[in-house]
């Protein structure tokens, strides 16, 4: 039942985590100096630590303001505060969880006709004003100190960036700790009087009821940070503080110091020992502390950047938030008690006695207001001790076994998946290789065909040369034979006719026409297929034109062709021109190329 009623407080914690974490890490994450993951982990851990270790002071003050002694009442008060925060955020009005919860408690006081402790109320309201002012003072002092250090040290900008990142982490951790310590009272403070008297043994450490309550509240803030603060950090956080890295360190540190000052019992005690007035331990608004710090720096820089509208809005928030929250709480309590018959308070006449009992409880939690966490392990006679060490160990072991089995299953699945992927990859690789090989084969076949053609033409050339050699040999042997016969004749009997015979023989063989004919005959024989193709494609070509084609195919020059055809080179050019026309060849195309392609 207690856990059910606590849900409204946890919801309040969640909204606080989602909204107020941006005050600590907003500018660092927004400017990408720190990754959100890092910020969320650090903020979550330190918020919980702050809540558990140092969260009692604020709760005590809230308890003095109005001890919400019934669970139903605490639930309604937290819910009313949550609703007013949510509603005012929707209306874009500056709102603080601290002021909302105070307003709701006063609303409860009014409803249950319990007197409001004016001293506590004055304390709280004073800190609402002094919080931002103190934030501004801290910010100015820290800013001046940082400027002085930076001027003196002459650190390399890149190294300075590293120091700033580290400082942002440390200051953020401190800020989160202070946020948890100070603001946990807003979240679960109203449940403090109703917390069951219980002591849970975790084996390594024990936590009492109050510590468990603060742990739950701290965890709800942490969940708020992890689940929803990123959006706020990227938008609200960044727009709230458009500051450079150095200034944002100062602002966050000043804010953290304000929260710390108003939540540290030890510091308050130190003040008393030195003779200074006691510091009131009150939950203060972290947003207002931040705004105070920014205003402080703005004033230091000349005050030009200060926007009076913002100050006006904040002041309005201070007045409006508690009133709205108080009204909502009053009507919600009326509704809960009359419609659902929910017990929102113990008997008012008994209240004063109950208040004393609660105060005693708190003094158990925080005896003599001097000791913090270490003394909360004091166990009264009424305390129920629950040893959850063994069940926790068993649960952890079971969880570990389940986790291992699950991991093994995933690894196995991954292996199968990997194998399948590997197999598919291999198939793809083989297919690609096959296509590549086929392409290569095509290319090589084409090259082979070309080479074969080349070889054929080379063979033809060789044959031609061989034929001309043979012919020349024949002539020479004929000449030799004739000379031999003439040699046998006695001297003086050699006639002119004999020499003439020799001359005729030479002339016969020099006879170009004859030679050309024999050459044509050979060429025709050797280029049978070429002639066939030529006739097929161009049937109206004359024999002379075909001869010209065959000579063109042999890549002969016009001069060479002219000597073979026994015509002038100019005639060869004219014949070529006619041939082009007959074959219908374009000007851009080469005649010899087309013929060679046949």
């Amino acid at each position: 039942m207690f856990l059910f009623f606590l849900s409204s407080g946890l919801f309040l914690g969640w909204t606080l985590g989602a909204n107020d974490a941006s005050n600590v890490f907003g500018s660092a994450v927004g400017s990408k100096m720190i990754r959100f993951k890092q910020a969320a982990i650090i903020a979550s851990i330190f918020v919980v630590l702050g809540a558990v270790i140092q969260g009692y002071g604020g709760s005590e003050t809230l308890g003095k303001l109005g001890s919400v002694d019934a669970l139903g009442g605490a639930f309604t008060v937290a819910l009313s505060a949550g609703i007013s925060v949510f509603w005012m955020t929707k209306l874009k009005l500056p709102v603080s969880t601290s002021q909302a919860i105070v307003g709701a408690i006063i609303g409860w006081n009014f409803f249950t006709e319990n007197p409001t402790d004016i001293n506590s109320l004055t304390k709280i309201v004073t800190t609402w004003i002094s919080g931002p002012i103190l934030g501004g003072i801290f910010a100015v002092l820290l800013f001046l100190l940082l400027q002085y250090i930076l001027k003196k040290s002459k650190i390399h900008l890149i190294k300075l960036d590293a120091y700033i990142k580290f400082a942002l982490l440390i200051v953020g951790a401190f800020g989160s700790y202070s946020l948890g310590a100070n603001n946990i009272a807003n979240v679960v403070g109203v449940f403090a009087p109703s917390v069951p008297d219980i002591l849970i043994d975790f084996g390594f450490f024990t936590l009492n009821g109050m510590q468990l309550l603060f742990l739950a509240g701290g965890l709800s803030i942490a969940i708020g940070i992890i689940t929803y603060s990123q959006k706020v950090m990227m938008t609200v956080g960044n727009s709230l503080m458009k500051l450079n890295a150095e200034t944002s360190i100062v602002v966050v540190l000043a804010h953290a110091l304000v929260l710390f000052v108003f939540s540290s019992q030890s510091l308050s005690n130190l003040f008393v020992r030195v003779g200074l007035p006691e510091i009131p331990l009150v939950p203060v608004s972290s947003s207002q502390a931040i705004v105070g710090a920014i205003l402080g720096i703005g004033l230091l820089k000349g005050g030009k950047t200060i926007q009076l509208k913002v100050i006006g809005k904040i002041s309005l928030g201070w007045v409006v938030t508690p009133i709205i929250s108080g009204l909502i709480a009053f009507f919600a309590l009326f509704f809960m008690s009359n419609v659902f018959n929910l017990k929102v308070s113990e008997n008012p006449s008994k209240f004063i006695k109950e208040d004393k009992i609660i105060k005693e409880d708190i003094s158990i939690v925080n005896p003599n207001n001097t000791k913090e966490l270490t003394n909360f392990n004091i166990v009264s006679d009424k305390t129920t001790t629950v040893n959850i060490y063994k069940p926790v160990v068993i649960i952890v072991i079971v969880l570990l076994i389940v986790l291992i089995i699950y991991q093994l299953y995933i690894i196995n699945n991954l292996k199968d998946k990997d194998k399948l992927e590997e197999y598919q990859e291999n198939i793809e690789r083989y297919n690609t290789q096959q296509i590549l090989l086929e392409n290569e084969l095509k290319i090589s076949t084409n090259t082979n065909i070309k080479l074969e053609k080349e070889i054929e033409s080379k063979e033809l050339e060789q044959k031609k040369i061989a034929l001309s050699i043979i012919r020349k040999n024949e002539i020479l042997s004929k000449l030799k034979a004739e000379i031999e016969t003439l040699k046998l004749k006695p001297e003086g009997k050699l006639k002119f006719s004999d020499l003439n015979t020799l001359r005729i023989l030479i002339l016969e063989n020099l006879n170009v026409e004859k030679e050309r004919k024999s050459f044509d005959k050979y060429i025709k024989e050797l280029n049978k297929s070429f002639y066939q193709n030529l006739t097929k494609k161009y049937p109206n070509l004359t024999d002379n034109e075909k001869k010209l084609c065959s000579l063109l195919r042999l890549k002969l020059t016009s001069k060479e062709m002219a000597s073979i055809l026994n015509i002038t080179p100019k005639s060869v050019e004219v014949n070529r021109y006619r041939l082009r026309k007959k074959m219908n060849i374009k000007k851009s195309d080469k005649l010899s190329k087309i013929i060679r392609k046949l």
Binding site: L157, A162, L169
Partner: protein
């Protein structure tokens, strides 16, 4: 609780070590990068001197050194860029700083190009303008020599940048004036008759002058960066 503190402390310590290691290596890298530019610009100056005095071997040596330095500067710059992006260093000013380094890199790129153009095109520098050319190179190099310390000091004492860049801008103006004088000499007063030769010489004047233009560009980037960082 103690366990919590230990693990958390350990994590923070590791994060801190990583951040510091990277920042140290980047800071060293930036210094090394500026060293290369400084050396490169000196090689340009010496190279042109050697070209004018026909010391071909030494000129080749200068050109080779400058080419090597340019490559080195490029690789250092790439490394710095990677570190900036990977570790999101100075996220608010990263793009400005990287663009500054790009402009500084343009100085050594341009210097190498100029010297290699001397090598390839072999311009004929007439006696009457030889000294002017040497002075032009000297002034251009001086504008760079003043802007590099300004870029260096920007990373440690940004408030002192202004003093340094004043000198660089002064030398840039001087370079511009001398370059105009040389061009006037070439086209109006000298004995050079061929237009091709005149254009060729003007082209070299322009390239030497452009080195100081880049130096001025770096100076302007630095002054705007200082304002940005101080805001």
């Amino acid at each position: 609780m103690q366990l919590h503190y230990l693990t958390l402390g350990n994590k923070l310590f590791n994060v801190m070590i990583n951040i510091f290691k990277t920042s140290k290596s980047v800071a060293l890298g930036i210094d090394e990068f500026f060293d290369k530019i400084d050396l490169g610009i000196l090689n340009l100056k010496k190279g042109v001197n050697n070209y004018v005095n026909d010391n071909n071997e030494e000129f080749d040596l200068n050109l080779n050194t400058l080419t090597f330095l340019e490559k080195e500067a490029d690789s250092i710059k790439r490394k710095i860029e990677n570190e900036f992006y990977m570790h999101s260093l100075m996220p608010n000013y990263a793009s400005d700083i990287l663009s500054l380094l790009d402009s500084v890199d343009d100085i050594i790129d341009m210097s190498k190009d100029v010297l290699s153009q001397f090598d390839v095109e072999r311009p004929h520098l007439h006696e009457e303008i030889t000294n002017d050319y040497l002075e032009l190179v000297n002034l251009s190099v001086k504008s760079v020599e003043n802007v590099i310390p300004a870029a260096r000091i920007f990373f440690t004492s940004p408030e002192q940048v202004k003093e340094k860049i004043q000198k660089a801008i002064f030398y840039h103006r001087e370079t511009k004036a001398l370059s105009n004088n040389i061009k006037r000499k070439i086209f109006q007063e000298s004995d050079i008759t061929k237009l091709s030769e005149k254009i060729h010489l003007r082209y070299f004047t322009l390239h030497i002058e452009q080195i100081s233009d880049v130096a001025k560009n770096v100076a302007q980037q630095l002054s705007s960066l200082v304002i940005k960082i101080k805001m």
